[in-house]
Symmetry: C2
Subunit: 329 residues, 2 copies
DNA sequence: ATCGAATGTGGCATCGATGCCACATTCCAG
DNA sequence: CTGGAATGTGGCATCGATGCCACATTCGAT
C-alpha cells in the first residue's frame, strides 16, 4: 500500500480511504489512487485488515462428511450465499468426531472468524465458540436445549407426511430404519412417524422401529434382521445413508418393489431418482437450508437481528415416486 | 498474548518462544506459560501471525461444483490431508465461470494463501496466482501447455481399458458421449477410446462420438439423438453427469441393459452401484486424487521439491458390473 | 578467582491497513 | 476583507505475534 501511495503521490492514509472506507476523498484523488493500484497490481492484505479491525470475512463451516451429498449440498448452499456477500468459507470435516470438532473450533477461533455454521456433534463446540464471542448457527440439528440460532428441516411434518402416504396406501406394518433419536433430527422424524400412526388410528408396533448406526453396511444388516424377524409391507429409512443399506438388502433378496415391499426415505438425493423403481422420498431442500444458514449468520454478524434466538424451519416436501405402492393384501 | 505474559510473569517475547517457535525457553518457564495460556483461554491470532510472517496456513481450493460427487470427493481428500498438516481449506465454487474463478483467485491473493488447488476453467487463473508467488496445483485437468504442478487421473489408460472391455465383449459400434476435448481430461478419454479401437483392430466410426454439454439434460438429448441416428450396441459416457443423462434415456426407452445395450461410464460415483443393473465404470480414486493434490502442494510450499514441474498421474481402475455384457449378435 | 562460553530472557522494531486527530486549503457569509 | 465552517489530506499510534539483538545470569575451565 505504501507503494500505491508513492505511485499515486499521496499518503497511505489517503490510499486507504480512497480504496475502501467511505471517508473523505476527492474524486480526482480517488481515481488517481485506483489507477495506481491497478497499475502495480495491488491487492489488499486481509491479514493486516483483519488484525487491525479485529475481525475477518472468513466464515467457518463445520460438517461431518463432505462425501455425503446431504452435507455437500448444505455446504454448497452456504458457500453460494457467502460468496455473494463477499465472505469466504473455511470448510472443515469433523468426521462426526467430537475431538476433531473441538480442534476445528479452536482453529476457527484462532482465525478470528466472526461466525461459524456447524452441524454439531457435541454441545461443547457451539458453546466454546459462543463463549468467545463468535456467532454460531447450528444446521440440521439441535443438541439438547441449545442457546443459539438454528436452521432445521421440518422433520416431524415431513416424516408424518411420508408415513401418512404409506398408511394411506393401506400399509399397517411399516418398519422404520433409524440411527439416532437423541438429536432433534432423528427425534423429529420418529415423532412424525408416530404422529402419522395416530392420525390414521393405526397401532404402532414398537418392534418395527429398527435402530441402527449411521452407516450403509450396518443399515443393510439391520434391514436384514428386520425382514427376518418381522412381517412388514413397507420400510422407511430416516436418511439417505440408511436408504442405501435398505435398498441394497432388498436388491439382494430380489424383493419386488413396491409389489412386495414399499420403500421410502427421508432426505432426497440424486441417486434416488435414478434407481429402478425410483424412490419415494422427502426432499428437505438442503441447498436452500444452507443458504438460510448463511443468511441468518450474516444478518446476525451485521447486528440486524434482535437478541433472542431464531429457529428457522425449512419446509420438507414429499416426492412420491415408484417405490411405494398399495400394501399387498 | 500480553495477558498471558502478565499472567505468567514473563515478557511477550518469551511467551511466543515458549508456545510456538523452537527458540530458547527453559522447561520451567515453558510449563508456566502454557499453564497461564490455558488458564485464560488464550488462542493465537492467526491474522497477526500471518501478517508478521507474510504467509498463512489457509489453502485455497477452487472447484466447479460441490454438488457433483466428483468435486466433493476431491475436496474431501484435499481437506483430509490439509487438516492432518494443520492447514485450513478455503473452498470456493466457481460454477465453471471464468469471471468467478478470477474473482476467487484475487480473494485468495488478498488472503496471502501460500498455495491453491484448482480445477482450472481458464489458464489465466493459475497464471495470476503463480505470478504473485502462490504455489498452484491443478487438479483433474490441464489447460494447454501449463507450467505448474498437476494431478490427473490416467484418463487415457482408463478409457482404453474400459473401451477394451466392451470391444472384448464383441461390441464394434460403441457410442461415446463426451462433453469437451479441449482440456486434457476429455482429450485423454477420447484418446483412450481411440487407442482401444486400434488395439482391437476395430474401425472407429467417428459419427459415434457424440459431443454434448456438461449437463444431464443435454446428455439425455444427445443420447436420444445418438440412438435414433445410429446403430450402437454400447454406450460409454465420459463422466458421471453424462452417465446420468444416458441412463435416464435408456430407462425411458425401456431398453434392456445389458441385453440390448451395454452402458459404461468413466468416473465411478456411489449411485452407479445402486442402480439396476449396476454400472460398469472406471474408478478414478477421486479422494486419493485430492489427497495427492494436497500432499504435492504442501511439499511444494515447504520447498521440498526440485523446481521442475511435477505431473502426478493417479491410476484408474476398471470396475466391471452388470451393465455391460456380450454384444447382441 | 576470573574469563568466556552457554543458555535464557527482555526490548524493540516490524508486518500492512486503519482511524483518530491535527492541520491545510477552499469557500462563503457578514 | 476577515472569521469560521466545510472539505480534504497527512501523521501517527495501533492491532498481536515474531525475531533479531542486546543483555543477564549461570557454569565450567584454567
Amino acid at each position: 500500500m505504501q507503494d500505491v501511495a508513492r505511485e499515486a503521490g499521496v499518503s497511505p492514509s489517503t490510499v486507504s480511504r480512497a480504496l475502501h472506507t467511505r471517508g473523505y476523498a476527492s474524486p480526482a484523488v480517488r481515481a488517481r489512487v485506483q489507477a495506481a493500484a491497478e497499475r502495480i497490481g495491488y491487492v489488499t492484505d486481509h491479514n493486516a485488515r483483519n488484525l487491525r479491525s479485529r475481525t475477518s470475512t472468513s466464515i467457518g463451516v463445520l460438517i461431518s462428511d463432505l462425501r455425503n451429498p446431504f452435507y455437500a449440498d448444505l455446504a454448497a448452499g452456504i458457500e453460494e450465499e457467502l460468496r455473494a456477500a463477499q465472505y469466504q468459507m473455511v470448510l472443515v470435516n469433523d468426521d462426526g468426531d467430537p475431538a476433531e470438532e473441538l480442534r476445528a473450533a479452536e482453529t476457527l477461533l484462532a482465525m478470528r472468524v466472526p461466525g461459524v455454521i456447524v452441524t454439531p456433534v457435541t454441545a461443547k463446540c457451539p458453546q466454546l465458540l459462543q463463549d468467545n464471542g463468535v456467532h454460531v448457527v447450528c444446521a440440521d440439528r439441535e443438541l439438547g436445549r441449545s442457546k443459539g440460532d438454528v436452521v432445521l428441516s421440518d422433520n416431524k411434518a415431513g416424516a408424518r407426511e411420508l408415513t401418512g402416504h404409506l398408511l394411506n396406501l393401506g400399509h399397517t406394518r411399516i418398519g422404520l430404519l433409524i440411527d439416532e433419536t437423541k438429536w432433534s433430527t432423528g427425534a423429529g422424524r420418529l415423532a412424525g412417524f408416530r404422529a402419522a400412526h395416530l392420525d390414521y388410528l393405526v397401532d404402532l408396533d414398537e418392534d418395527l422401529i429398527a435402530y441402527t448406526s449411521f452407516d450403509a453396511g450396518a443399515a443393510q444388516a439391520t434391514t436384514r434382521k428386520l425382514l427376518n424377524d418381522h412381517e412388514v409391507t413397507a420400510i422407511i429409512s430416516a436418511n439417505n445413508v440408511l436408504a442405501h443399506g435398505a435398498l441394497a438388502e432388498l436388491k439382494d433378496r430380489r424383493v419386488k418393489i413396491p409389489r412386495q415391499i414399499s420403500l421410502a426415505a427421508y432426505d432426497d438425493v440424486p441417486w434416488m431418482s435414478l434407481v429402478q423403481p425410483s424412490l419415494t422420498t422427502v426432499d428437505q431442500s438442503t441447498v436452500e437450508m444452507g443458504r438460510s444458514c448463511a443468511r441468518l449468520l450474516l444478518a446476525r454478524i451485521r447486528g440486524e437481528l434482535p437478541p433472542q434466538r431464531r429457529i428457522v424451519r425449512v419446509p420438507a416436501r414429499l416426492i412420491v415416486r415408484g417405490s411405494t405402492g398399495p400394501a399387498p393384501r
